[in-house]
């Protein structure tokens, strides 16, 4: 059954695009979770609704329409944080609510989009085209290059923004780059898991990785591995049991999180036991 499943072109495209975007989300998610900005995925995914609704309304590609809408919104979040001096979660909440409200308003104005909109809300990984696969690959390569150049700066800025500034690191620009990458990733991910579940792809693999890994590099690798495994097993299970792929990917991710949690508890118990033995 597995070989039959893999032999379909649309499945191959879905798995490839899903894996690429899942790795992007997981790697970005590590920094966002540590900077307590992980809900930005949730906020920006809600803004996607405005882009998708605008795309459907104007009969242009919802994907291409969403990119500028989400990128502008992400810059809006940074501006709100900087100018109105509110915490990240409040800024995300403001932009998210605005995006969602605007999307619903456009949908109502157009008299609803029925099935089209449903696909974007809950994901349809098996309808991913070659262009989307290419875009996902470009995004991943760009992100890896960005990481290669700014790896230490990103760690320093995630750990302590103020101190990073006193080492000559341009923290504002780094944050902007991270959030712009996230915006594009969110747009490319909404076909994989759907608008409502994108944030899980950004949060769950990094949190699982933080439970099991000991170094920063290990966290990045574990997050990427968990993300890819969840996409592959999620898509396969959805194919076998004829269930929604997006939701299955997230449930598999939750299962990995549970395993990670149990593992971290066992390790912690073992450490305590060793400490007692030493005493």
């Amino acid at each position: 059954m597995l070989s039959e499943f893999i032999s379909y072109g649309f499945v191959q495209r879905g798995l490839l695009a899903g894996s690429l975007v899942a790795v992007v989300c997981a790697v970005l998610g590590v920094f966002l979770v540590l900077k307590r900005l992980s809900l930005i995925g949730d906020g920006l995914s809600h803004v996607c609704l405005t882009g998708v609704a605008l795309g459907l309304l104007t009969q242009t590609s919802p994907l291409y329409m969403s990119v500028p809408v989400v990128v502008l919104s992400s810059l809006g979040i940074l501006k709100v944080m900087d100018k109105i001096k509110v915490y990240g979660d409040a800024a995300i909440g403001i932009v998210s609510a605005a995006g969602l409200a605007l999307g619903i308003m456009i949908t109502a104005f157009a008299g609803g989009f029925n099935a089209d909109l449903f696909g974007f809300l809950f994901g349809s990984i098996l309808t991913v085209g070659k262009t989307e696969v290419f875009l996902c690959a470009v995004l991943l390569v760009s992100l890896l290059l960005f990481l290669l150049v700014f790896y230490r700066d990103l760690i320093a800025a995630s750990f302590d923004e103020a101190f990073a500034h006193t080492r000559g690191i341009n923290v504002k620009r780094l944050n902007m780059a991270l959030i712009l990458f996230t915006s594009v990733a969110v747009v490319l991910a909404f076909k994989v898991v759907g608008i409502f579940l994108i944030s899980a792809l950004i949060i769950l693999p990094p949190v699982t990785a933080l439970l099991v890994a000991k170094t920063f590099k290990q966290v990045l690798i574990w997050a990427a591995v968990v993300a890819v495994l969840s996409v592959w097993s999620g898509v396969y299970l959805s194919f076998v049991f004829n269930i929604p792929s997006g939701a299955t990917i997230i449930l598999v991710n939750l299962l990995f999180l549970l395993i990670g949690f149990v593992y971290s508890k066992l390790v912690s118990l073992q450490d305590k036991k060793e400490e007692k033995d030493v005493d």
Partner: protein
Amino acid sequence: MSSAVEIKNLSFRYTHNWVLENISANVKAGDYVGVIGPNGGGKTTLLKLILGLEKGKGKVKLFGTDVARFSDWKKVGYLAQKSPVAQTRFPISVEEVVLMGLCYDVKHKEATAENLKQVYRALSQTHTLDLAKRIFGHLSVGQQQRVLLARALVSKPQLLILDEPSAALDVDSRDLFFGLLGELNKKHGVTILLITHDTSEVGKYISKFMYIDKELVFFGDKEQFCQSKKVAEKLGSFAQHTIDHLHNQGHCPLGCNCEHEHTHHRAQHGAEALHAK
């Protein structure tokens, strides 16, 4: 002597409230300045402005260069009031945290043996060598603070900016901490700007006081601090405990050999004058 920090007509406000107004001061290289004042007086904001973390009205220069264009951060060490990491799961070791202090030098490459030598020297200075391989988030707040001091020291800075660094330390660690700062200032000429409420502890090391209460109330040698009329007025209104120190210890803990009784009376007089207003 050259200037380490020059502040000219510096003001700052959050929305409508002025936090600092028209501050001017010149911290010379080699000075050890205790920055004191009441809570909410703007001390932390002043340090943030000096470091360029906030932008205010007026000028701040570090080693003669406007802070907005300053790039020689190797010369500056900074230790904030609170540990930056609330989550214990941040996957970073103590060694890596201290290495961050050199990250202008090891940005795109692995740390060299020389870098690691510098890290271990700084850890040894702060008595945290045994913690090098531990995860930073697993340490106690006091241990974290000592590691962060090592991070501030690792680049052998010429200027140290410290915001109430001793708050989380126990008495022994506090003595070691202030002793180390005193040694860095005396032996190596490191300029130190230190926010503290612990004037009795740190008074013996400090050469100057900067008293901030939205405005610059006093900036000068510690010997002149207790003679300042403006300080006496302000002390009467906010820091009775400092006066108590002056009283109870039998000698001026600020080290100025002033007649504490006299100072106390002037402070009282200042308080009465303020009440009368």
